[in-house]
Amino acid sequence: MTLLGSGLCLLGAVLLLVAAWGVVRLPDALSRQHAATKAGTLALAAFVFGVAVLMPEPAWIGRLALLLLLLLLTLPLASHALARAAARESGAVEDLAARGDER
């Protein structure tokens, strides 16, 4: 059980590092938010499951379940808002609208 929990925690940490690496390396804000939010959600979910496996006590499980629920509810909304801001700031929305008019 300790091995599984530690493995999930390490997986989460490595995924978070991959997300941060994507934020540094990808070319524009739209693809950066994609890397940060998708990989970040998976990393935090894996880490929360790892902690839950390591500490199977009611006080921990309840708080971790609440934390996971909040993360899964709020991170997609934040991702959507970030994508809107990035697309609006880079002009991608206006480009798409202009291309739609041509057709």
């Binding site: 925690c9 978070l16 590092l17 938010q33 006080a59 934390l67 970030l82």
Partner: protein
């Protein structure tokens, strides 16, 4: 060697990359994305602290941090969105 300390090290590395983007980011959106990833790092470090200290207090801090990060990210992203929409509407 406790694998938890390896997790702390990896999260610290991710925080450094996030700070690089926060300081460097050419546009406002890049900085909000960096802030989002920094809040994710902070939540993960809180969970690590809870495991190392063995208390549930840090889990409550992680809950508060995740909510604060959500509201902050949403507010800043909406601000950029509104500002850009108004600037384009006026011109």
């Amino acid at each position: 060697m406790n694998p938890l300390y390896a997790c702390v090290f990896l999260a610290g590395l991710a925080a450094l990359l996030g700070f690089y983007r926060l300081l460097r980011g050419p546009t406002q959106s890049d900085r909000v994305v960096a802030l989002d990833i920094l809040f994710a790092v902070a939540v993960m470090l809180c969970l690590c602290a809870a495991l190392i200290a063995g208390t549930t207090a840090f889990l409550d801090i992680a809950l508060g941090l995740s909510l604060t990060g959500f509201v902050g990210t949403l507010a800043w992203a909406r601000l950029i969105d509104r500002g850009q929409a108004q600037a384009r509407g006026r011109s």
